[in-house]
Symmetry: C2
Subunit: 413 residues, 2 copies
Amino acid sequence: MSILIKDAENSEDIYIEGNHIKEIGTNVTEADKVIDATGKAVLPGLANTHTHGAMSLLRSYADDMQLQEWLEEKIWPVESKLTSEDVYLGTKLACLEMIKSGTTVFADMYFHMEDAARAAEELGLRSVMSYGFIDLNDADKREQEIKKTKEFVESVEGKKLIKASLGPHSVYTVSDEGWDWIKEYSEEKDLLVHTHLSETRKENEECVEDTGKRPTSYLNDLGVLNERLLAAHGCWLTRQECKTLGSNGVSLSYNPCSNMKLASGGVMPFPWLDKFGVNVCLGTDGAASNNNLDLFEEMKFASLLQKNNLWDATVLPAERVWRLATRNGYRALDLDGGVLEEGWLADLIVVDLGLESSCPGHDLYSDLVYSVNGSCVDSTIVNGKVVMENRKVGGEEKILKEAREQAKDLVNR
Amino acid sequence: MSILIKDAENSEDIYIEGNHIKEIGTNVTEADKVIDATGKAVLPGLANTHTHGAMSLLRSYADDMQLQEWLEEKIWPVESKLTSEDVYLGTKLACLEMIKSGTTVFADMYFHMEDAARAAEELGLRSVMSYGFIDLNDADKREQEIKKTKEFVESVEGKKLIKASLGPHSVYTVSDEGWDWIKEYSEEKDLLVHTHLSETRKENEECVEDTGKRPTSYLNDLGVLNERLLAAHGCWLTRQECKTLGSNGVSLSYNPCSNMKLASGGVMPFPWLDKFGVNVCLGTDGAASNNNLDLFEEMKFASLLQKNNLWDATVLPAERVWRLATRNGYRALDLDGGVLEEGWLADLIVVDLGLESSCPGHDLYSDLVYSVNGSCVDSTIVNGKVVMENRKVGGEEKILKEAREQAKDLVNR
C-alpha cells in the first residue's frame, strides 16, 4: 500500500510506502491512494504520552472536587466495578477522540489492558500500553500484579501497533520489592516503564516522611531512573530532581490541564528540565480529569501555564511546544516518529488551514499551538494507513452509542 | 418572523417571535422556521465582553514576546498604518469566528469603529462598540478624541444590533480631563464605559508613582466607578480594590488566555470579586494576544487558572463559569439576554451533543466548560434571526479570502 500526499501548503509531496515515509519531494506522482492537501498542512502526528483511555467513560462524571475526595468518593468506587467490556468500549471512545484530534500514538496505563489493546488495534491507533501495577506493600497482591503484567506483555507480543510497557503506578502505591521486579523485568524484556511522579504535595511529603527522600531520589536509589522511564506530571520537582532526571535520561510527560483542573498547585518547571536535558513531552491524562484528549488544546495550556507561572511571555514558544507534542513524545516512547523525514514512521496528519480560527495565517506554529483546536485535523494516518479522512472515522456512530450506554450502566451499576 | 426550536435534549421547545423568546413549552407547534434540535442542546448565546475584533488580522503575527516589546516593536507599528478597510475586514473575520463558536454579543474597543459597526451589522452579530479614546495628556489630541467619539456615538444611533459605548483606554493613556469628559458624556447619553484596568504590574506601579493611588482608587476619585463601567483584566487587584469595585456596581471582564499568554503574571482574584458582588464576566481580548475568540476554550482557561492559582479544585465550578460567559456578560452590557426565559432576547445557540468530546454526556455544564470547544456549536441565533445553521455562515469563504489578502497587505505596507 502506498500513499501520496500532494500539494500541501507547508511541505513538498510526501510519499508513503508500507509503514514508512519513503520519499519527500516531487519525483513520485502516483500511488495507491492520493490525498490532495491543497489549502492544508501535512504534519507529524501528535503523541499523547500519558493517558488512561478507558476513563473517557467517566468524562464529566465528577468535576470541581478536591483530588482526594474525587478519587475516594467518585473514581475509585466506580473503578472497583470496572469490567473488561467497560475498558474495551471506553478505550474505543478514547481512540476515536484522539484520531479526530490528530493523535497518532498514545501511552496508556489502566486495567484490563488486553481489552484496551484490542480497542486500539481495531481503531488502527498506535499505542504503548501498560497494566497499572499497584501492590500496596502486599506480597500476595504483588504476585497477582506480576502475573497480570506478564500476561499482558505476552498477549501483545508481535503486534504491529502495540508495544507493551510496564506500569508501576507511583512511589506511594508500589513497594520496593515491586519496583525491584519492575526494574529486572524491564531489563530482561527491554520494556519501557510508565509511572506517575511528583503530581501532588501529598505524594512528596509522604515520600519524605516514609523514606527520608524525595520521590526522584527514592526512584534513583532503586535504580529505575534511565532512558526507559517515562514519568508523568512532575508538578513539584526541585531543581536538583530535574538535574537527576536529566542526567539519567528520563522522559517527563507534562499534563497541564489535568494538573490545573485537579489543583495540583505546582507547575512542572520546564526551564529547569530543559536546562538539564530532560526529554519533556505532552499528555492529556484521562478524560475524567481534563476533560478531553485534545493535544491541540493541551499545547496551548502547556505554553500559557509556563508563561503565566514564570511571568515570562517568551518561555516555551510555539515551535518548542509543537516539538514536545510530536518528536519528544515519540522519542519518549522509543519510536522513530514525530518528524516528517524520509525513513521515519508514517504517522502523520493533514490539517485544514482554511478555518476562521487560523485565518489569516501569519505563522503556522503559532496557529497550531495558540489558535486552533483538534477540529482542524482533516485526516490522520497511522503506520501508513489512513484512519480518518475528511474527519470521518469508520464506525464512529456505533462507538459513541455503545460508549454512552456502557457509561450509563457503569455509573449505575 | 418566528422560530421554533424543537426536541432539544435539555429544554422544552423554545418559540421565538420577533427578537424575543416568546414561549417555552409545548403549546406552540408551528413557526416560520422550525429547527430540529434532537441530540442537541439549546442554550443562551455567549457574551464576549472584551475584544478588539479587527486585531484578528494580526492573529499569530507576533507571539512569545514580552508585552512591552510586543506592543512597541510589532503591534503599534502596524496599527499606525491601519485603515478603515482593515478594520472592516478584520472585524468581519472576528464576527465570523465568534458566530461559529457560539458568541452572540461582543464588546469591542478599537479604531475606525464606524467600519467595525458596519462589519458586525452585515454579519448580524450584536455588539457594544467603543472608540478607543487615548489623549496622552495632550489637549489637542483630546479634542480630536472627543470629536471622534461623538461622531461614532451619533453614527450608530437607532441601530438595532449596535449599542455605542465609550472607550477610555486606561488610567495610563487618558488624562484626568479626558476621564472627566467621559464621565459627563456617559451620564448625558446614558452610555456604558469600557476600559482596561489593572492588567500589568507596570500600570499599577506607575499609577501609584504618578497619583499616589492604585488604579481603582484613582478611577473612584474621578467618579467613574459605577454600574455603567465595564473594566477588563483586573489581574493585579487588591482585596480592597475588589471591595471598591463591588460596592460601586462595576462589571469586570476576565481574560485568562490573553493574561496568561502575555505573562501579566497576576491572576484575577475571582473569590474576592465574587465575595464583594462584582459582576464578573468573560472576554477573549483580541486575537493577536489569545490567539482565538473561542469563549468555550476561554471558559476552560477561566476555571483552570483559578483552580491552579488557588490550589483549590472546587473554585469556579462549571455552572458558575457558564454563567460568567452568558448572563453575567449580558448584564455587564446592560442587555436582557444570556438566559433562556420567556421575554428575554432571542440570542441563543444550538449545540451538538453528539461529538466524541462530549460523550458519554454525564453532565452538560462540565461538558460545555471542560470537554468541548467552539466547534460544537451547530446553530447561532441573534436577535431572533438565524446567523449560522449547521455550521454554515453566509459568505464565509469570501470573508476568509479577503481577510487573508488584507492581512498580508497590512503587515507588508
